[in-house]
Each structure stands twice: as C-alpha cells, then as structure tokens.
Subunit: 365 residues, 4 copies
C-alpha cells in the first residue's frame, strides 16, 4: 500500500475517486517565496478538463482548484500545500450497470481482485479523473521551474492512430483541441476523429514532451537516474504502455558511430540521447515520448465476465474520450515538471558550491 | 543524492566503481527462512560476467560474490544481507588517456559537471560493472519468487540491429552467447557480430523479459503502479532508451476493439496489456521490452572535447562489448525480479486476509 | 523539505495552518474492508478539540472531519483516504500584533529564519491545530488495531506540574477534563489549574500512553526499531521535550539484575522494558511516557525582539491553554496508533507464514 | 522489513552480525569533494572499540574500517561509499550455550518470535557490534559538518549509576576511559566500577551530546522535525530507554515564565529548549540526553525459559561491558552527526537563496 505519493523532496500525494465528493492532494516541499494563485494552476487544468471539445468526454467538470494551505499573502510559505477540486457532474447512475461486471481493458477486474471490492462508480480511483490533481501539482512545479530557472516543459500530440506529426511548432499546440503542433495535420485529425466517433471505436496515440533549459547535472545514479524517474512518471499515467527517451526504440538498429552525440566547444552537435547521459541531464533538451492505448470504453459490442464468472455481453455507454491520448498532453507535462522539480531540489542539496573546472558547454547546436 | 537504493520493502542499495577495490550492496527486507547460497547467485553472475565469449569485452572477472551477513545455517534470517564482489582485472592504466576528455555517448561529461570531478577509471560508478550487484540481489529475489510462489522471470534477446527474433523458446536462450531464444537466428547473429567487430563499430538491441505465474493484485496505484515501477527499473539499466509493457508502441495505431483483452470464465483470450491493467497485475504473463543503445566505446574515430574545452580526436581502445544489449539480459531479469519481489511484499502487507468474492480467472488461454 | 508525511506503509500526510481555510490530510495504506465513518473519528477529535473546558483555549472549533475519498459503502476500499476539517473560528485579527515580533518559546523566529517569512496568524503551520488531522488519521488506525487485532491504545495525564498521578484507572481518564486516570487527584488538579490561570502563567505536564495486546514481533531493526519510531512520533508532537519507553530515565541508576525482565513459561514477570526488546515488541504492554513543556503564550510580561532586531516587551493575549499537556493525550494516542499500524503492516509484509517453533509466552503476569 | 537504512538524503544502510564474516554499510549522499581517509574514521572507531579498558568487554577487535568505493584520489566523488569491517575475534563457541535459551533483557526472544529463528552467536544482528558501522558513517558526517560548517558534535558520559557529572569540560572527555567530562569524578567512577565488576552486576548510565555552531533553520516540520529525528536516532541506539532535548523531563514542573528562552538582539539569554523550537534549530547548541539501561548479560544468576518453554537457570558468562553506556558516547555522537548532516542537505535543497529579512541573532549568551 501507500503508493499515492510521488517524489522524494518535492512530494505530491493524491486522493479521490471519479465520482466521490472531491479529489485532492498535498504538495510537500515547495520552496518558499514562489508567487502562486489558483488562476496559475487553472490554466493547465482547463487544458486537461473534460467537455471542452467534441473529441473528449461530454462529462462537464469546472475543475476549479482550491489552494487550502501553504500559500500566504500570495506566496508559498515552504509548508505543505493542500489542493482540492470538488466533483460536480457525478452521474453515478450511469455506472450502476458496471457494478457487477468487469469492463475489458479497464482496471475493474484487477482492483476487485486486489482489494476484494471496488468503488465501481466511473472507475473509482482507477479513473483518469485523479490526474487533474497531478496537473494542479505540476502547475506549481512548472511555475517554479520557469520563474527561477527558465525551464519550460512543452507537450504535444505527436501521433494519433495513423496520423503522424511532421513538424513541431510549440506555438500551434494550444491553438487546437488535439494539442497538435503541426497545423498541416489538423484537417486529417479532424476527419479521422469524426469517422472514429461514428464507428464507436477508439484509437491510440503518441504524446511527446520536451523540457528546455534544463541545467546539466540533474539525476541521481544508479537507481534514481533522471531517465528512470521520467519513465516511472510517464508509465504511471493512465493508458501509457511505452516510454522513450531521445531516439528510444530506434536505437535498436543504430550503430555506435551513428548514435553517439559529438561534443564540441560550442555544444553537442546532435541529441540522440534525448538530453540524458548516464542518468544525468546533459543540458540539452529533455525529449520524452510515450504511447497511449486506445480507450477501452467503446460502443463496439464485446464480451466479458461478471462477478459470478459468467460470460456476458458488454457495450460501454456513457461519456468517454475516443482518444485518451489527447488529454494526456497536459498530464505528461505535469509529470515531467514534477520529476524535474524533485531532481532540481535533490541536486541542489548535494552539490551546493560544487563546480566542475570545466564550464558547461552550450545546448544542442 | 542518495539515489543508490531500489525498492521500498525489499530494498537493494549498491556501491562500487568499475576499477575500485570492490563492488557490493545490501539487500534489506528478504523474508527469513529462504535457503540461499553463494552458488545460487553465481549462476546469473556467470551469465552476466564479461569475458565469456568473443562477443563481449575481454575483461576477465570471476565475479565471485560473497554473502557477508543475513544468512545463517544456510537460510536467510530476515536481517540485511551484505554482498561483496572484489574487482580483479583492474587495468587502470587502460584508462589514463580518458582522464581529461569526455567520451561521446558516455557519462564522463555529465558526471564531471554534476560532481565537479569523477573517478575516470573505466567509467567509475557509471560503468555497467555495478550491475553485477543488481544481478546478485536479483538472484535472491528470483529464488524467493520461484520457491515460494512459483514465479519465473525469463529474459531473452529479441532483436540485435536488423536481426529480429521470430520465435521464443526459453529452453534455447541459455544455450548460446546471445541469449537468443530462436535457434534459427544464431547463424545470422554470429555473422552480423563478426562483421560488426571487424568494422570497429557497435550496435543496439532489444531485450525482453517475461514473468510467469505472477499472482493477480501486485502494484500500488496511483503512482507506484506495477508498470510504472517496472519502467523505472528498466530505464535505470545502463544504455536503455525505451521501455514497453505488452504491445507498447504498437498501441498508437490500435483500435480499442482490437486492443482490449477479453475476459472469459476460462481466462483472458489475449494479452495486449502485457499482464498489467490499471497498474495492477492481471495474473497473466508480465511482458516487458526494452531498447538498448549501441556501445559508445568504439574504435571508429570521432571528435569530442577535453576538460579545457578544446576539440580533440577520440578512438576508444580497450575492452568493450560491441553490443551491450546482450549482457543486459540477466540484468533485466534481475530488475524485474526485484520489482516483483518488492510488490509481492507490499501487497502482502496490505491485503492479508482480503479476498475478492470473485475467484481469479486463469491466465492467458 | 517534504517533512509532512509519517509512516512507510500506513502513511499520513498533512497540510494546513492554524488560521487558513482548512486543515487536512491523506491516509494512504489503510487495508480495504474496514468499516469507518466520520463519527468514528469524531470521538477523538472531540476529546482534543478546543473550548471544551475552562482549562483549555476558548477558541471554538467544531473540528468536524469530512472523509472525502477511500471509503465506499461504509468501508475502506484500499485507496487513499482524504480528510478535511474546515477552520471556523479564525480570528486573525487577534494575531496581527505578532506579525513583526518573535514570541519567546514559539517557532516564530525559527520559521522566519528557515523560510524567510511565515504565516504569522496563530502560529500558522507551527500551531498545534494541525494535530487535529493526526488525531483523525490515528482514529482510523485505532479502529483497525482494535477490530482486527484487539489492540487498545490508552493515553492519560500522568503528571501536571507538581501533581502526580498515583493510580491508573483507564475507566476514569475520559470522565474528567484533565484525562486524569486517578480520581483522587481531580481536586488537586482543579485547584492547581485555577490558581495557575489567575497567575497568567502556564505549566508543563507528563503524558503516558499504553498499548495493550500488541503482538510480539513488531519493529524493524536496526534503525526502524519500534521504540525508535515511537520516540520519533512522540518527540514530533508540539511541546514534547522528552520521551521514555518503560522505565525510561530510571534505568540510569538501575542494576542489570534489577532491570532485566524474567521470562517464565507463563510470561514475563515484570515489564521494565516497556514492551520492547531489541527494538521489537515483546507481546507485553507498550509503555510510553513523554514530557510536555509549559505553553509559551502567557500573560506574564516578558521581553523579546522584533523583526528589526529591537528589544520589545511582550504579553501574549488571546486564547491559549494554560497546560498544553492536557489536550496532548488524544494526540499521543493517535501517534502511537499510527506507529503500531505502520509496523503491523511492515511485519505482515515480511513474515507471512513465518512461525517460531517456540510459542509466544503470555503477557506480563 | 527493510529497516536498516537511516536518513533521507544522507542515507546510511548497514548489515552484519556480531559473529559473522564482517559488518559493513553504504553511505549514500555524501557531497563530492570532501577529503576523507580511513584514518579519519578510525579515530572514533577506536574510541568505541571493545577491549580498550578494564571497564569494557575483553573481546578484541581492531575495528579496522576499509573504504571500498566513493572516494577517489583522497576525496569523495559524490557516489555511494562502501564501508567494511571484518570480524576477527569471533569466538562463536562462547555462544553455543545460548542457542536454545532466551537471555532476559536481550533480543533473543523477540528475534526468535519475529523471524522464526535467529543467528544466536553473540546476539547476531541485535548485538551492539553493528554500531561500529554507524560510528564509521557518522565519522564522514562529522568531518563534513566540521570542515564545511564548523559544526562540532561532542558527547560525554553525564551519569553512571549514582555518580553524576557536575561540570562539562569537553577537553577532559577523551582523556579517560569513561568519556567523563568532569575530572573530579574519575576516582568515584573508578571505584564504583571496580565494585560493580566484583559483584558481577551491571549499571545504567546517562549520556549527553551537544552540537555547536548548528545554523538556524534545520528540521522539516511537522513530522520530520529536528527533535523528532534526533529522538528516533537516539532511541535507536541499543539499550537507550529515554531521550531528552534541552530541559527534557524537567519541563513537567516548569512554569511558562521560567521555561521560555528570551530573545535579545545579542541572542537568546538561556537554552531551556535545547536548541530546537517548533522542530527547527535555533542556532543555539543542540542539547540531547539519553538514558541507557544496564547490560543484561551479567553473572548474577537468574531465571529464564528455553525454546521448549521450560524454566531454566541462566548465568551469562563471556565478555561483556558492565556499563554499556560508556561506549555509547561515540555512537551517540555519530547518530547526532548523521541527523544533522541529513537535515543540512534537506534544508539546503529547499531554501537555496531564501533569506529572512531578519538577521540571525547570536547563539546563547
């Protein structure tokens, strides 16, 4: 038990079920003196929240976050920060029919077996609804990283089913409901999603996140390597089935002479490594990719079993995203921000005053 | 700092540099009563150790592990287990020439920047040599998992450069120096590696691990999900750049109707999920894949910088694996065993006496 | 940072300031299936809450706790439990006058120096108000310990200034506002406190807690010994300056022949050890004592400095307990329950199925 | 399980039994650049080691510590430090007679019940022998604290049975085998101990430790308060039954007007608090006291039970300290140094660049 905390020095602990009274959490370890308001956190919550486009679930939640503690006269005090989001649109009745059955692809069966019973309303704790608090907590980390260190964390949709993104223009990402950074692919995405909704099916996606201006030196080998903690964070996002740093699975068929990033006095000449060498940030962009499975809740009929181990038919009605990957973009940003924040503090603890005689080289040329 | 421990209840803490006096570690949390000898651990150490074939480094290390504590009259006592492997073939002179330069693709630059200096002999702490202790610790976990729960953890090479494996026969894996489970590919591997060595270059690889007979219920959402911890463990292995659970990156272009694994009274009919749903084991095989980058130490000439930020030529001489992926097989097994062991204990803590009214269904049909 | 969590497997994380919007917390790791209601937790909250007698602060707080998650259909689900208590009687204006000065004996100066500023309203995070959440969380632990293992955790006032308790009758403790277990001392306490209030001064106290029916075997040497964790828990209660297990400081002048508790087939013949040997519970009563300093907020005039480092006079007005030790009784119970709960889970993880060939002997004769 | 680690950022993990091959440990989180040699650590090991005077056990151990990793060219590298001390004088035969019996006052019974069996040779893991590694690890912390921050950690014997210490002169402490800081009490101690040895009995003791030049601001409320962690550390030392900070148990009968330490522009005028307010260091001396029970191994005959639950006679022969409190002095210093080191790093992580507008006042006048 007790798996609801993330981070060692900048620690986020969350609670809350999809259709309970509220979801919430505690951010512990935020340095004092950071100006933060609920509005700051709302920006990303609004990006993640349901009901914003026809491509996401119709459930309507304002996702208004309340800061209950740890901020005084507009600034963090260094004490723990309580966060709360009340659930509003809790149509529990929608979910009575899943009480006694295990939806394929969902956590119904595993929660039931692990705990002996489960809060079946909308997936309970296994619902992606809890990620709203990750986004709020990540918002605090993002603000600190940006204001104190100039670090930016930028996510985007890099593939949706067969539609791949060819060009990454971060200024485009937030102008469309797909978080797609390539304007030329918006029509293709729109068309694909319209057809998909008609078919009642769902589709997987690839999401990428990049962190810019990360200083060299973050990561604590040999187990708490920066890449290992990023993998933990990303694979811990609902529906994620694969994580890559830098070239990822492409390295399988790369030669050493091809993969290694050459250092020059002006900086690295390439970034196959994705900004991490030996588990420690290089000062280049941190590049992370992840694969998200298609939503399991679809209206295409299927088979499953009920609690009495009997075979039954299943058609998931209700309000669901046909591609959960889309709304995962702000969640992935939040998780990367949490990892970087935690490792910034850990590195700071260890190395105050330590300086290499070699100056850091510039980022990727 | 303090990133050299792994696991919450079954905790492994390691120390040691490539060319120091010794490497070692502490396994804390092993239940009492397990029969264990140094010979038990030696089996996997011998599988990982260098110098066993012409496809691995020529460095010769016996990798003889000593159990210093925690075992009495042949059985674990429940107290912490000290492990020690003395370094023998420490040709430090081989490495004097890398003292003032940063080998591309290695952790030389990041360690230097992080810590202000580094033990440059053979990569110091960043060398994969430290993984020998992970293998020894994993051996304890593997024995417990096997003897008490019948769980088996089986790794294999699934791709090496362009050579893919078509068939997985676990009885073949340990009969060849590639850990290849497909007998029909041994000639192709042999030929590819011979050419590669001639060229002085290196190549990436894909390694897979499967765990059989894992009970349903392991994993602690929402952050310490089983898949998240596996991703942490695997991405923390030297050279790993990508991790997949189940279908991994293939899910990007899968439909929901295609991906979801149907439950029947006789068990699941497929295992796209790779044995984890909602971060909790399903009782099916846990299936993990990872991508390992090509060795950065190659004799193909390249450019880099020295500590004075001057551009210099580099040709890595010395003893290196042309494909680090090969020897990663026992390491990947060890890390998966450590994750499963830790989560077995964590689940046990929480749920003693808890039983679902639904009986677990059988594994994958 | 991030020091607001307690426990490894049964983990409590808290937030909230004395005069903020609310205080709250997360209980992570409670086994599923425990019946729990807000009323269950209210019992101890009411024992701790201010304004219940003339011997405690006049601040009025209902301390009504809300369970926000982790409980479904009346039972814990195994997921994290969100707890919330809204602050009501937040007379911040009372505290404007302490904004720029450091009250002696309080944490004003240390918080200001540590964090660079502080929430000065009523002591902010350093106020004992946060302990209400500890009491609520401890209530969950107490219920589990009692219902599943028959363990009872019983606190009482054992000394208040010069008034010592001679007899411990647990049935008396909750019948008086002093939590005094000795009926014959109630008049003396009443008289002492009346005089004390008149003088405007405050007084220290000794509080004791005993845990009954604790099984043999709890505690994880060598650092997470049961007694060490109890000491951590108790010294972490506001105002506590000393902690004893069993005979405590009396052992300084004891002989070995006097101190050692003899084992007989019928059980131990004495309990000088206080129920812990080698950091592991013996099966006897766990006996803990602690010393609490007098309230620093008194109306006896004193000197201190302000933020400009100038000497000033100080007289603390406002609502304060003349003896904080009294209300510490339910807090001490809660903390002991949290330690026992955490160690029960930790021991369970490790030793499922392990049995000594020696049967446990009975408790203290 | 897994209770053999101490500290969050500066983490010590230990292993080893009294009569096993070796004891050892890992220090993880030491900042790079600290000059350290085995000789540095040997100083305190020699103070703790057995066989140095007629008042301690006659067991002879050189306690020669080996640094196996983490130090390169005389300086720490920032990687984990492996420590090893081989056991030499392992007269296991001395202990065959305790194999099947539970020595009163020892951990024999609790280890046997907890783990189902135990390494009975000399107490196995429960022997104070393991504290040698704590002393070695603490030596690293002490050196860092001293060299980088000017912090000194000074322990001494403050009472032995009825002999109390009246005057603390730290220059006297290490000139006598009692670690007594009061020269005028050496004869009384000598006489008392001679009589005690003749009687075959043992005696308790009080040990104190003070830390000087600790900066204001260490400690992480509300659970990881500095005083709480000190209590954890001290109560975790074998035989300790009570811990006090500052005035400790004397506060029970103190008035608020008497206890509170007045702040003046020149510093605090007293230190009843023992250097901690609200769980955070004040900048004054940290003052800690602890009570150690008398050795349970005495030659005064007693009763106990064997593994078959039969009553038997017991007379402990062998080599034992008549007062374990004496050799606890360097152990207590080590543990306080470990706590301070850990909290120094934790505070540094959090508050880099944070500065109160109020300047710290001087220490105790």
């Amino acid at each position: 038990m007790s798996g609801n905390s993330f981070g060692k020095l900048f620690t986020v602990t969350t609670f809350g079920e999809s259709h309970g009274i509220a979801i919430g959490g505690v951010v512990d370890g935020c340095p004092p003196g950071l100006e933060i308001t609920e509005e700051d956190l709302q920006v990303d919550l609004d990006r993640r929240k349901p009901g914003t486009s026809r491509y996401t679930t119709a459930r309507r939640e304002d996702d208004e976050v309340q800061i209950l503690s740890g901020v005084f006269e507009g600034k963090t005090t260094g004490t723990s920060i309580g966060l709360l989001i009340k659930n509003k649109d809790q149509r529990s009745q929608d979910y009575g029919n899943i009480k006694d059955r295990f939806r394929p692809g969902h956590a119904d069966y595993t929660y039931d077996q692990k705990y002996g019973s489960r809060d079946y309303r909308g997936g309970g704790r296994s619902s992606a609804r809890e990620t709203a608090i990750r986004v709020a907590a990540g918002g605090i980390a993002k603000k600190y990283l940006k204001e104190v260190h100039g670090i930016e964390v930028l996510g985007y949709l890099s593939q949706l089913g067969p539609v791949t993104v060819d060009k990454v223009d971060h200024s485009v990402t937030n102008t469309n409901p797909f978080f797609c950074p390539d304007e030329s692919k918006l029509d293709a995405l729109d068309e694909y999603m319209r057809d998909l909704k008609k078919s009642g099916d769902s589709i997987g996606a690839k999401v990428s996140v990049v962190a810019k201006n990360v200083p060299v030196g973050l990561g604590e080998p040999v187990f708490d390597r920066l890449d290992a903690e990023i993998a933990h964070a990303m694979m811990g996002i609902n529906a994620v089935k694969g994580v890559e740093i830098g070239d990822g699975f492409d390295v399988i068929n790369q030669k050493g002479s091809e993969h290694r990033d050459t250092l020059t006095p002006e900086g690295f000449t390439s970034n196959h490594a994705g900004g991490v060498l030996g588990g420690i940030s290089t000062g280049q962009d941190i590049e992370v990719h992840m694969a998200l499975k298609p939503t399991s809740s679809i209206s295409v009929p299927g088979k499953t079993i009920n609690k009495d181990n009997e075979e039954i038919d299943i058609v998931t009605k209700g309000r669901h995203d046909p591609c959960v990957g889309i709304r995962a973009v702000p969640i992935a940003e939040a998780m990367l921000a949490l990892v970087l924040m935690d490792h910034l503090l850990r590195h700071r603890a260890q190395n105050a005053g330590v300086q290499s005689t070699t100056k850091p080289i510039a980022g990727q040329a």
